[in-house]
Symmetry: C2
Subunit: 333 residues, 2 copies
């Protein structure tokens, strides 16, 4: 088998974020769960948008953010996700191609509009997300190009892909092709409610060896093992045959393997403006480190650095040159 042409190939919901600043009262009034992601229909999206203030529209999508971040750190990357050729769809496609990511998924010719996520940012910098999946739910097995998957050292899948039924099949097909090609598969658990929705299936992916690298934040890990105790959850994760990376916001991250548990501090920031994309960019840094052959501690440090960049401004895509930032902080790029 030839050396992989891509370092990381991401599969995810192709989403454009509409961000607005709101206060905590707004969340209460709209009965929203702070910090989580809720799936909403088009009518709810329209009424929530109506109630929101001034929006900033920036491409997003969890796996897409990660891929953009990895590209910014010098990785060769690709992305697979479904859009329609409408205004938001064109913006997403423009942005991901502008970052030199291979993106060739054909636009949906009919069906719902491109996906959007209404992201409500509270004064504490936390984001509460409301996603209308739209066209991104129409990703199917037909969109999985076997050669593209075979060409990638790591195929990175977001848990959110479990929500649209056809996308789940695309997810599983990609994982199978990667396995048969001797490539690695990484999964992010995405969100606690997503874990609640698909716990047995996610556990099977981990325990059946479909996934070799697992990203989760502390809450998602607690949800996976249905415990409120961090050490219990880490001990359970250690029993799995995966490399587990658990992010803990300002408490840093923990890298868990059967041999080792490494705690790596967060990167200090002056002010948290908007946490949207923090986990996604952490994964970008970590995966980039893996692709460069760095040790796990260095991978987690690079993840922390990329996450720190994205939480200091509005939106989940980096606004500075991540490779330059990494060099400034002692990484060789």
């Amino acid at each position: 088998m030839a050396a992989p042409a891509l370092d990381v190939l991401g599969f995810g919901n192709a989403i454009v974020d509409c961000l607005a600043k709101v206060d905590d009262d707004f969340l209460a009034k709209q009965a929203l769960n702070k910090g989580s992601m809720a799936l909403i229909d088009e009518a709810r999206a329209a009424s929530l948008y109506e109630a929101m203030g001034q929006v900033t529209v920036i491409s997003g999508g969890s796996a897409a953010n990660t891929i953009i971040g990895a590209a910014g750190l010098g990785c060769k990357t690709g992305f697979v996700g479904k859009l329609k050729a409408d205004s938001l769809g064109n913006q997403f496609a423009h942005d991901i191609r502008a970052a030199k990511v291979v993106f060739e998924t054909p636009f949906a010719v009919d069906g719902p509009a491109s996906a959007l996520c209404l992201v409500l940012v509270t004064p504490d910098g936390q984001r509460t997300m409301n996603t209308f999946l739209g066209a991104s739910g129409n990703l199917t097995e037909a969109d999985v190009d076997p050669e593209l998957v075979q060409s990638a050292a790591i195929t990175y899948l977001e848990g959110y892909l479990w929500d649209p039924p056809a996308a789940k099949q695309a997810f599983l097909k990609a994982a199978q092709i990667a396995e048969e090609a001797g490539r690695k598969v990484a999964l992010t658990l995405s969100d606690t409610f997503c874990v609640d929705r698909y716990r047995p299936e996610f556990m099977a992916l981990i325990q059946d060896g479909v996934v070799q690298i697992l990203f989760a934040n502390e809450s998602e890990l607690h949800a996976l093992y249905q415990t409120s105790d961090f050490n219990t959850a880490i001990a359970a994760l250690r029993q799995e045959k995966v490399l587990g990376i658990v992010t803990r916001s300002e408490k840093g991250s923990v890298v868990v393997s059967q041999n080792d548990v490494l705690a790596v501090p967060a990167f200090p920031v002056e002010e948290v403006v908007d946490t949207t994309g923090a986990g996604d960019l952490f994964a970008a840094g970590f995966l980039s480190g893996l692709s460069k052959g760095l040790d796990h501690t260095a991978c987690a440090r690079l993840g922390a650095l990329a996450a720190a960049e994205v939480i200091q401004h509005i939106g989940a895509r980096p606004q500075t040159d991540l490779a330059y930032l990494a060099r400034q902080n002692g990484f060789e790029f």
Copy 2:
């Protein structure tokens, strides 16, 4: 005549900004004049967009930014500008109404798409703008509601409105209605190239008493009086029967009347991220001060404060509560 229901009514091109960070080489390659605004057609907009990196899409438009800022400082405001009911048009309308600005201009039912401005932000924080006027050029006299204009203490007009021929007529009609109602008319010169295009007409507006309040930055003032000497330009401005407000970036502002020339310092900022909207928000603060009966020095300080907010983040619309910011800085609101 009843007391005015609105403090400020703005007329302007209704534009959504697509901002991207670029380096100076990009401007050179695209033959763009740093810091200025160029009018472009749809084909050029498409090719420039293609070449730009990741975009952030935020409502803009010079007069609209000013009106949003004034609303944020507690003024009762309205806006008149033309959109189409497309994605960008809906975003603009949503955003301006979300700020509680009276906005009732009907959408254009045919013709070009809503206006957009491709804003290229260089590492020094300067912005270079490329505007496709689209639907905003279809503002006509029919869109000027006499009662609305009569209800506003100040009608605020942007020089850019001179570019679309029909909009100029709307501009003049609004100014005439305001004059007949005993209201004030303010004009911003918008851009040096805009001054070059319409110098005799702008001079006539000033010297014929159509305009009583004039906003300009230093370069625009130099262009108006065709001098490279600031003191010469200020002396010429002093001869006009207008209240002139000249902004000078980090050097602060100068308020010029026949009786007085007041220099007011800029508000210190930690880092200039993006100067888009600096002049617009200065005007917002100044006009808000006037509507609250503050003296000219206090008006210019309030302008400087609002401008300082908007240059510390991407986009030309405030991201913080300006009234709160003003209170924190000793203004009574």
